[in-house]
Structure formats: structure tokens, C-alpha cells
Assembly symmetry: C2
Homo-oligomer: 451 residues x 2
């Protein structure tokens, strides 16, 4: 499926409890008392759908993030929440984060196939390898698997999952009541996978789903992460602070595709942006300042310590970052480490200033302005080779998403940059991506075992 | 929470693709083309809710069951499907089967807590240990864990899960915007579990849910299964062919409760029944015969082979069961093995007759009759100490459930045996069961580490 007509940008709404700003829950426009209320997320998803966005997305961690003392953390598990949202939405894609480090491919493939059926083809999987020792300790491990090994496991995991999704041919179900034949079992195959990390016999116990596979999304921007993305991902979320950096990342990622036999239009790059929206620029800046003033420094310092792999507790807030380790010694999110270290150095920020800069986007770009100014920014990045679309991270919810949908989307539509109606049925179609062919069928007809 | 007024029976609707009869999908009243259509299951759940039933329930297996060539097998994964159904129902409980043998307690505890929040307190967990080597082979194991070890693991799994559900106190969230304190971290605890099978640090990343724990359900009737149920279960599904057997099971299970400090009203026994409903007895019997005539003997023989742990392929359908192993040598569902072996011996059944008898209920009781006759049966078992309620297994869907709701439920209501409106908010309240106390709080206030 190739999009016809003018090139259009794609928009994902990244949902997060009270909003992306770490002080959002203290702001009077947010509703942190509703973070375990389905109706709240239903409103968010339906707002994004009213704005004709491509998808909503939930991040995930397998331990209580950061310091729950000072932020509205914890709440729904993504696959259960998105399954519920599937029942009350019609067009919007539903992207759940699931870790390959702490799951089994049979379960994961099955749940995504189930969500894809439930939603009529709107499931997406943000593939993460998990980055913290606190997660490992919830799964019987004292230390976290080393970065490169996590990606090794992730590759095998995705290979197994795609084989499982391919284990039923699209037309395997015959439903021949007369002869008593429900399925053509020549078209439902064991996958017989025996690898380094997994042994999975198959077949899956879910028929092939509307999209074949869920949309495959990835968000790690390290060397390992980029290579993994080039091989498997169809959409990539990335944190980029400047146009130049985003252009360079976009170009780098696209250039890696050929070695996997893929073309540039088979992968979309979606940088994150936390838009702080005001009806005037002054109003937007005032809102940004208001959120900064609500930050709890102790929380910001703990978050920053995690990002830079260095305990910053007790350091003076008005002093600089101390000497940091090298990226190669970081076993968490390597690319985020480098981004934060460079941001602090480039702009000569104190710890307090750095915490303020990271408050709304955790390293993603923050932009405060009017709807026109925000649309300008999106247009610039989209037309200058920095982005195929954006991961919208409202600093406060639900208002920040409502403002984006009501005020920024119409401008993008007037400029011909964004759809004015949903014209497709599945998430992959929203993004203009093709439904994957069944590789096991291809292998079987070539008389060979699948690779 | 104790129920007041007359003792009422409880009803669970056991949902299954085209229905419980193994030939249901061939019958013109079923819709096997809709087994991956959310709207189909939405209709089933809403029908059960229209009938004021306590809950709907989904069984599960982690491999493709039996022979998909001859039955409408495969489809939705329970937790994703029930999460979707949570969004389109209001009162009915949602019970998902999840295996303790092939899952991690952190994931399982979290998903059920999430479903409990999503549904406003309507989640239930049917705890199974899984019984087949085909499931093991989807998780890197060549052989299936031995029966007693599976229950060992299950016990530790449930202990870890309950600790995780208790890791947030009910009032841990302070939401003090003024002081910037979201949660009282003295009330969010690590669980520090280190056991034989699991090491889980905790806390869970989901606040304590409306029910505290999901309703804990169990369905194994072996010696290990009964003891496990007596310790943990709040509702037990069981296959019982005769009033006397059901009375004996009911009495046995209730008698085991005291050793765990529990009282008889803390556990409900719900035998399965597959009601074949007709407006006359002749019509019901004709429908039963019609379904029998649609059976594929090859499928029935494969199913029976699994139940009795013996390959019956090629044996004459009009001959008897061959010599079978002892229950102690069965590593699958021990109690079902014994039930089937006894049924065949007691009634002197040929293989063909046995396959017909097992077609609708897989060992659960099948009863064909008018709505009045079915209500009589339920009343008898309920008043004669054989049941606290029933697990209703419609032979064909959606019609078999619609008939039950439209014709049997009103009779039970007129007899004062069943509710005439929902008066409670949670699944546990539907069943007249109390919300569990938080054991970690009790342990902390006693100054002791939790057991």
C-alpha cells in the first residue's frame, strides 16, 4: 500500500497519566485522580481520534518508575488498557510497549494478534529491551542483561513472533460445515523454532490477524537500536533536540535500510515533541514557567541520575553536571544518556536548569508557542528531511491533547500536511505501510525451511 | 460482606467460540465465522449481563487445542478480550484463565490489577497449572512439569501475586498537589520475595485495585487441586456427573477450609452444566441428537485420547475403552481422567457412545430438557448440598446462552433462587465474598516481615 497524493505527515499521541511534564499532576488543568479510570483514557483516545491522529501509544516499564512520592506514576498495563480502548474507538491505532527481555514470544505474539483482531487491525508493538536493574529484580535476576545481549535476544524474539504470526495462512479457515472441516491444517504450521534464547513449537493459537503483524515500532537510538530498527521497525520514535540532529538521525536510519532489502518508505521516523500551547507566545511561555515552578527538584534529580547513570543526590542544584561515564559504560538507555550529556554541555546548564529543560519531555524536544508556531515547527522538520511525522507528547493531559487537536491539527490540515478524514481501516494503512507477506508460505512454496 | 436475605445461587457463563459442543460450529444456529469478532463476544457478555449473571469466564490453553481441522479452535487471548469487554459492560464479572506454569507473577499480578481497575472491580483469575506437553513446547521445554511440582509452583506464584497486590495500601495515594507529594511511599512497599521458583522485588507498578485481589478461581479437582482450592480459591469450577458425586465433592472441599482458617462461605462450588434447552423435552432431545449427528468421530477420538492419556487412534468406535493407566500415572488433568474412566465403566459405553456423551460438556454434566426441567435440576443440586451455583456451558452460542437467559433465569427468579437486579459493584460482591484485607499492612503493623 503506497500513499498517493501529496506527502502527509503522521501523528502519534503519546499518552501518559497526567501528562508528560513531571509536574503536570500538580497543575490545576490535570486530573491525576483519574489515572486508573478507564473513562479518562477513553476520553484521551477519543480526543486523538477526533483529531484524526494515526495512533495512540503507551510507554511501559516493569518496575515502579522513578520516585512515586513526587509524580503520578503507576497505573494501567498497556495491553489491557489498549484492548479496552479498542472497544470504544474505531480508527485510531493502538501501540503498546512490551519488553523482549522479560517476556516470552508465544505470549507476546498471541496478545498482539488478539489485540489486532479485537481492534480490526489497529495493533502496534513498541519493541523495547528494558533498561533498568529494578525491572530485572522483578523477574528473578540480580543484574540487568547487558545491552548488546538484550538486542540479541530482541532479534530472536521478533523472529519467533513473526513466525508465529505467519503460522496460520490468511485463508487457513475453511469453515466447511458440510464436510466438518474447520481449518485446512496444511495451512496451519508448526514453526519448530530452536534458537539461543527460545524454543517454540507453534503454531500460534490465534488465526492470522487483519494486519498480519502488528505495526512494529522501536524507540532506541543507540547503534544497536538503530540497526535493530533498520531491520525490523516500521515506525521509530526518537528524541532529537535540534533540526540538524534530527536530519542526521533520519538520514542515518534510512540509509541503513538497504542492507535489509528495505526501501525508505518502509520505515517512518517520528521525533518526539512536547508542545506547550498558548493562544499567544507569552501565554505558552507562562504555562511552561508555571510547570517548571511546580517541579520537585528531588524528583528531577532522581530522574536525571537515572538518565546519566550517576548518582547526583546531594549535589548543588545551581552547580554543573559532574564528570560523567562514557556511553559505552551505560547499560540503560545509551542514546538518551548522550543526548542529555550533550544538551548540558552545549548550553552550559546547571543541574537546576537541566532539570527544567528535561521536565516536559525527558530529553524529547519541548516547544512553547502558539498553534501557528507549533505547526511551523512541525512543517519545517517534516519538509526539511528531519521527520516523517511526530510523536506528540502533551505536557499536561487532557488539556494539552485537546489544544493540539483543536488548534494545531486544523492548521496542518489547511496547509495540506495532514489528513482531513480517515480513509483506511488499519493502523498500518494509517501510516501508509504495506501488510507483510506471510514468510512461512513463501518458504513452504520454495520447498525450503523458513530462515 | 455477607449476603443477607434468602440464599441465592450464582451463575457463571462459560463462553467458548461457537459453543461447548464439539460440533456446535457445524450447527446452523452458530456463527463460527465470528470467533475473532469483538462484537460477537460483546453480544455474549451483554446477553449474560442482561440475564444478571455473576460473571463470564474464558478457559485457556497455551497451544492450539486438539485438532483444529475439525473444530473452531483458536481465537482471542482471555486477558485482552476481557479487557475489551470491560469497556462495554457494567456489572458482569470477567474471569480469565492464566497459567502459573508458563507465566511470571509480576506480569500476571499486574495484568489482573489493571483489568480490575479497568472494569471497576470485576476481574477474576482462574488459576490453572496447564496440562499438556504441547504447551510446554511453546516455552522452551521438552517435557511438561510434573503434576505435584506444578502445584508447588502455583502456590508460590499465588503468594507472590497476593503480595504484589498488597504492595500498595489502599490509601497510599495522597495527591497532595500543594506539597508535591503524590504517594505516601511508606505505604508502597517492596515485597522482597525470594523463593524456590521466583525472585520478585516489587512493589507492583499498579495501585491496589477496587477488589484488592481479583476473584481467585480454581478448577482442578485432583487431590492437589482440592487442597490448592481450599487454601486460595473463592470459587471452584468442577465437573460432576451425578448428584451424589457433586454432594461428596462439595462436602469434601468445604471440609478442607478450616485447616486454612477459612469458613464455608468463603468458597463457592460451581459445577458445570451444559443445558440443551428446548421448548419441549422432545425438542431438547432432538437438538441434542442433531449435535451428536454432527460430531466428527476422528475429532472426538483425539479429544478422548487426550483425556484418558492413551492413544485410541484406530480402535473400533463400537468397541469399549481399552485398559487405561492409573490416575497416579496421568500428568495432565487427573480428575477429568478419573471422571471419564468411571463414566465409561459405570454406563458400559462404547467409544462412540462415550464420544457422544462427552461432546457437549467434555466431562461436565449435560442435561437436555425444557427450561422448567433445567431449573428443577439446578434447584435440586443447589438445595441438596451439591452446588452454590453453576458454571453454565451453552452447547451452542449465542442461542444457547440467549435461551438460558430468556427462559431459565426468569424461572429461577420466580422461585426466589436468583437475583432480580444487580445490587453490587464488584465481582466479589456479586458472589457475596469479602474484599481481602491487605496482608502486608497487617504484617507491618505487627512489626513482623510478611510470611
Amino acid at each position: 500500500m503506497t500513499t498517493t497524493g501529496p506527502r502527509r505527515l503522521h501523528l502519534n499521541a503519546f499518552l501518559m497519566n497526567a501528562g508528560h511534564h513531571d509536574a503536570a499532576w500538580r497543575h490545576p488543568r490535570t486530573q491525576p485522580e483519574r489515572v486508573t479510570d478507564l473513562k479518562y483514557f477513553q476520553h484521551l483516545a477519543q480526543t486523538a481520534e477526533r483529531g484524526l491522529l494515526d495512533s495512540v501509544f503507551l510507554a511501559d516499564g516493569l518496575a515502579l518508575w522513578g520516585k512515586v512520592r513526587h509524580n503520578a506514576l503507576g497505573g494501567f498495563e498497556p495491553l489491557t488498557l489498549l484492548s479496552a480502548l479498542a472497544a470504544v474507538t474505531e480508527h485510531i491505532g493502538l501501540i503498546a510497549t512490551v519488553s523482549t527481555t522479560f517476556n516470552e514470544p508465544f505470549h507476546t505474539a498471541r496478545k498482539f494478534a488478539s489485540l489486532d483482531h479485537l481492534s480490526g487491525g489497529r495493533a502496534g508493538w513498541n519493541i523495547v529491551t528494558s533498561g533498568t536493574v529494578n525491572e530485572a529484580r522483578n523477574f528473578g535476576q540480580e543484574e540487568h542483561l547487558e545491552h548488546a545481549l538484550r538486542y540479541d535476544r530482541a532479534r530472536e524474539f521478533v523472529e519467533v513472533a513473526t513466525k508465529l504470526w505467519d503460522s496460520w495462512e490468511d485463508d487457513a479457515i475453511l469453515l466447511d460445515r458440510e464436510r466438518g472441516v474447520y481449518a485446512d491444517t496444511d495451512k496451519v504450521r508448526e514453526i519448530g523454532h530452536r534458537g539461543e534464547y527460545f524454543g517454540v513449537q507453534g503454531p500460534l493459537n490465534v488465526p492470522r490477524s487483519p494486519q498480519g503483524y502488528p505495526l512494529l515500532v522501536q524507540a532506541g537510538s543507540s547503534e544497536d537500536g538503530r540497526e535493530f530498527a533498520a531491520r525490523y521497525a516500521e515506525a521509530v520514535f526518537t528524541a532529537q533536540q535540534t533540526l540538524a540532529d534530527a536530519q542526521s538521525f533520519h538520514k542515518d536510519l534510512k540509509s541503513r535500510l538497504t542492507r535489509y532489502g528495505r526501501t525508505e518508505d518502509e520505515l517512518l521516523v517520528l521525533p518526539g515533541i512536547a508542545p506547550v500551547i498558548g493562544s499567544t507566545e507569552a501565554e505558552a511561555r507562562a504555562l511552561e514557567q508555571e510547570l517548571t515552578d511546580l517541579q520537585v527538584p528531588e524528583y528531577g534529580l532522581a530522574q536525571l541520575s537515572g538518565m546519566v547513570g550517576t548518582d547526583l543526590t546531594g549535589l548543588p542544584l545551581d552547580g554543573p553536571l559532574p564528570e560523567l561515564p562514557e556511553e559505552r559504560d551505560i547499560n540503560g538507555n545509551k542514546s538518551r544518556f548522550t543526548l542529555v550529556a550533550e544538551l548540558a554541555r552545549r548550553d552550559g546548564l546547571t543541574l537546576r536548569e537541566l532539570i527544567a529543560r528535561l521536565g516536559a519531555g525527558r530529553g524529547h524536544r519541548v516547544f512553547a508557542g502558539t498553534p501557528e508556531q507549533i505547526a511551523d515547527q512541525l512543517e519545517e522538520w517534516f519538509t526539511q528531511g528531519a521527520a516523517d511525522g511526530f510523536n506528540i507528547m502533551p505536557p499536561h493531559l487532557p488539556g494539552g491533547l485537546e489544544d493540539f487537536v483543536d488548534h494545531v491539527v486544523p492548521i496542518l490540515q489547511r496547509r495540506g500536511l495532514f489528513r482531513t478524514e480517515y480513509t483506511s481501516r488499519t493502523l498500518r494503512e494509517n501510516y501508509g505501510l504495506a501488510r507483510p507477506a506471510n514468510r512461512l508460505v513463501a518458504a513452504a512454496s520454495a520447498g525450503a525451511a523458513p530462515a
